[in-house]
């Protein structure tokens, strides 16, 4: 059984935000526009956050691309009253848009603030329609959404492997953000398979996870020479 995870090398990330853009078009994320931005209601499953430490001129900063951490012990799934979010056997934390009642309890329970709410009816302007991804459902107003580790790609890859009667290979399935990263900072794969690069990288001495002390066991690892 796979345990899907991600390693993001912060020493390689140059903050270009290609991952954000790739994620938006892959996952049919609504166009918020200036109004949503001014109201702090934009949705971005993958966010490159700038982390700044210290005071000028003694300043250190870096970019931290942040998707859903797909925690092994997710605080968000526990609190959902209708089981609209749960962790599947392969460790992907999923969302059922058609069941979510929009209470936003999971968004509050998430210590990483990576769950997003559709405050308005998601806007997909006519010009973006031809580019919508037919593999990903668009969300209705009033539900929570977040990064799914591009699980629709996993479904496709798995079908393909079955048709070709062979096991799923590492190169069969990766996420849109990892695909698009020009510096190769984002690596995706099966953490439990020693032949996958993520398995090796996640054991790198530079590896750490966000808010490790909370015991949420995230499956997104970061590599950095400092802390």
């Amino acid at each position: 059984m796979a345990r899907w995870g991600m390693v993001i090398d912060l020493d390689k990330c140059n903050g270009c935000q290609a991952c954000e853009v790739a994620c938006r078009s892959e996952n049919n994320i609504a166009v918020g526009g200036p109004q949503a931005a001014s109201e702090h209601r934009t949705i971005s499953w993958m966010q490159v956050r700038a982390e700044v430490e210290g005071e000028w001129p003694d300043i250190r900063s870096r970019f931290v691309p942040q998707p859903c951490m797909h925690c092994d012990r997710p605080p968000c799934t526990l609190v959902c009253p209708v089981q609209a979010t749960s962790i599947d056997r392969e460790g992907i934390v999923n969302q059922i848009y058609a069941r979510c009642i929009g209470c936003r309890y999971c968004a509050n329970a998430c210590p990483y603030t990576v769950k997003f709410f559709n405050w308005h009816k998601p806007d997909h302007p006519a010009s973006t329609e031809p580019g919508l991804n037919p593999d990903v459902s668009v969300r209705p107003v009033g539900v929570i959404e977040k990064c799914t580790f591009c699980s629709h790609r996993l479904q496709k890859a798995r079908e393909m492997a079955r048709v070709e009667t062979r096991p799923l290979r590492e190169q069969d399935f990766t996420t849109a953000c990892a695909d698009s990263c020009p510096t190769g900072a984002i690596v995706f794969g099966n953490l439990d398979d020693p032949t996958h690069r993520v398995a090796e990288l996640s054991r790198d001495p530079r590896a750490f996870r966000l808010q490790e002390g909370l015991g949420t066991e995230p499956k997104v690892y970061y590599l950095s020479r400092r802390d």
């Binding site: 109201e39 702090h40 209601r41 934009t42 956050r49 982390e51 942040q66 605080p75 526990l78 609190v79 959902c80 009253p81 209708v82 089981q83 609209a84 069941r99 979510c100 009642i101 929009g102 209470c103 936003r104 309890y105 968004a107 509050n108 329970a109 210590p111 990483y112 603030t113 997003f116 709410f117 559709n118 405050w119 308005h120 009816k121 209705p140 107003v141 009033g142 539900v143 929570i144 966000l210 808010q211 909370l214 949420t216």
Partner: protein
């Protein structure tokens, strides 16, 4: 004979206490119209929100919860006025309870539905609310909340209704209108000594049973916050802290209701200075308890010094939320403590001033719990603010007005002071209490040794 003539000829207790049922003043209609208009405006605002989604609120990322959740905690807190206070006083055999229990129990039953509806107003998909039963996830504190509030509503409705049966039977026998209503709700009760004994036994059991249910309700509401990992929410003290806060605001709401009822229905003889004095003492005790819990909570956070917890704490103490925080401390501690600690200011006016301060302060307390924590997530301090929209404020005003309106209407159909319990007090309790006191006194040694 009209209803008014029937009531006018009755002896004092029945005459005074049934008068509001048969005589309605112009002032009542005027206030009812105002309350109905505000409630209607709230309903209009909700329809607007239904059509436009929760975008009509001032909420955002990461301020996922706002006015509706604050009001949820606030109204359910007020609902502890009745059942809990009345049950505790009954269990403790506090004789001065007789004239205040009914008005308290009515607050509980009527405000609880207005509180319970708040999370539904807050849902992004209210059309899917029944998923809570279809796809129940038993580990969700929200589900525990649905269960405990439903149980509490049921228990406190029964606890309001059962002690009202003798009064309803009396009204039925007097033939007041609407006759069909009273003969239906009196369920064929006849006030014989045997019936009275059974009734009192049931009330005794209900009063004990309802206390843990009431405690569970606000504990679970505290847990909704405390079971997340959020800074200043993730705290073991939240269950009991919320219960104390609920009783605190409940007592304050009851004092305000008593003062208004006393004035508009001329119940000076029933809500006497001693009642306000005693309620004021209860308010004083809960004021001190509230301060103790609040101090313990904030000291622990400050001393622990964890980064994200401190960011939230300082936002309250000296930062963006200093005004609501210190207003809360003044309203919940300094004002009620200063007024209630002195016998001289523990009069009707003093109690009402303190209670209004407490009710405002306890609303602010919930604001200070919900908003600063939301705006200080563990990762990446948000530069966001939360300004409630006109929709949220209208719905809040509408909810409050709706509650007041329904309470006003209730006083027109049901005696707001328990008539039979007052009469029982006059006839039996004076004797019973002196016997009880006599039984506390030391036995006669000579008699025991023999």
């Amino acid at each position: 004979m009209t209803d008014l003539e029937i009531v006018s000829t009755l002896p004092q207790d029945e005459r005074v206490l049934l008068m509001p049922l048969v005589r309605t003043t112009k002032v009542f209609w005027r206030w009812a119209a105002v309350m109905a208009a505000v409630a209607l405006w709230g309903a209009v605002a909700y329809v607007y929100q239904l059509r436009n989604g929760l975008g009509a609120t001032g909420l955002n990322t990461p301020e996922y919860w706002g006015i509706y959740i604050i009001c949820f905690v606030f109204f359910i807190g007020i609902s502890h006025a009745g059942t809990l206070i009345s049950a505790i006083l009954r269990v403790a055999n506090a004789e001065w309870r007789r004239s205040i229990t009914r008005s308290a129990e009515f607050i509980t039953v009527l405000v609880i539905s207005f509180g319970a509806v708040q999370p539904i107003l807050d849902l992004g998909r209210p059309d899917r609310v029944l998923n809570i039963f279809l796809h129940s996830q038993p580990f969700s504190p929200l589900l525990w909340d649905v269960l405990s509030i439903t149980l509490y509503f049921t228990a406190s409705s029964i606890y309001l209704y059962v002690p009202m049966i003798p009064d309803l039977a009396r009204i039925r026998d007097l033939g007041l209108r609407p006759r069909a209503l009273y003969s239906f709700v009196a369920i064929g009760y006849h006030d014989t000594p045997a019936a009275r004994q059974t009734l009192e036994r049931i009330i005794g059991i209900l009063a004990v049973a309802v206390i843990p249910v009431a405690v569970s309700v606000h504990t679970v509401i505290g847990w909704i916050f405390a079971l997340t990992l959020k800074p200043m929410w993730h705290s073991a003290i939240f269950g009991p802290y919320f219960v104390v806060g609920a009783i605190f605001s409940g007592i304050a709401a009851l004092i305000i209701a008593m003062a208004i009822l006393r004035r508009v229905y001329h119940l000076e003889a029933y809500f006497k200075d001693v009642h306000f004095n005693n309620m004021g003492l209860l308010l004083l005790v809960t004021t001190v308890l509230w301060f103790y819990f609040t101090f313990a909570e904030h000291l622990t956070v400050w001393y622990g010094g964890e980064e994200s917890e401190l960011a939230t704490l300082y936002a309250k103490l000296t930062g963006a939320f200093a005004i609501p925080f210190w207003t809360m401390v003044a309203c919940c501690f300094f004002i009620p403590f200063a007024l209630m600690a002195r016998r001289k200011t523990r009069n009707v006016t003093g109690c009402v001033v303190a209670s209004v301060a407490v009710v405002i302060g306890m609303w602010l307390e919930r604001f200070n719990i919900v908003v600063p924590t939301s705006l200080h997530p563990r990762l990446q301090a948000a530069t966001v603010h939360y300004t409630p929209s006109w929709v949220e404020l209208s719905i809040m005003a509408g909810t409050l007005a709706g509650f007041v309106l329904i309470y006003m209407i209730a006083t027109k159909f049901f005696p707001i002071v328990s008539i039979w319990e007052i009469q029982e007090g006059r006839e039996l309790s004076v004797h019973e209490v002196s016997e009880r006191v006599a039984s506390y006194l030391p036995d006669d040694l000579a008699a025991v040794e023999r």
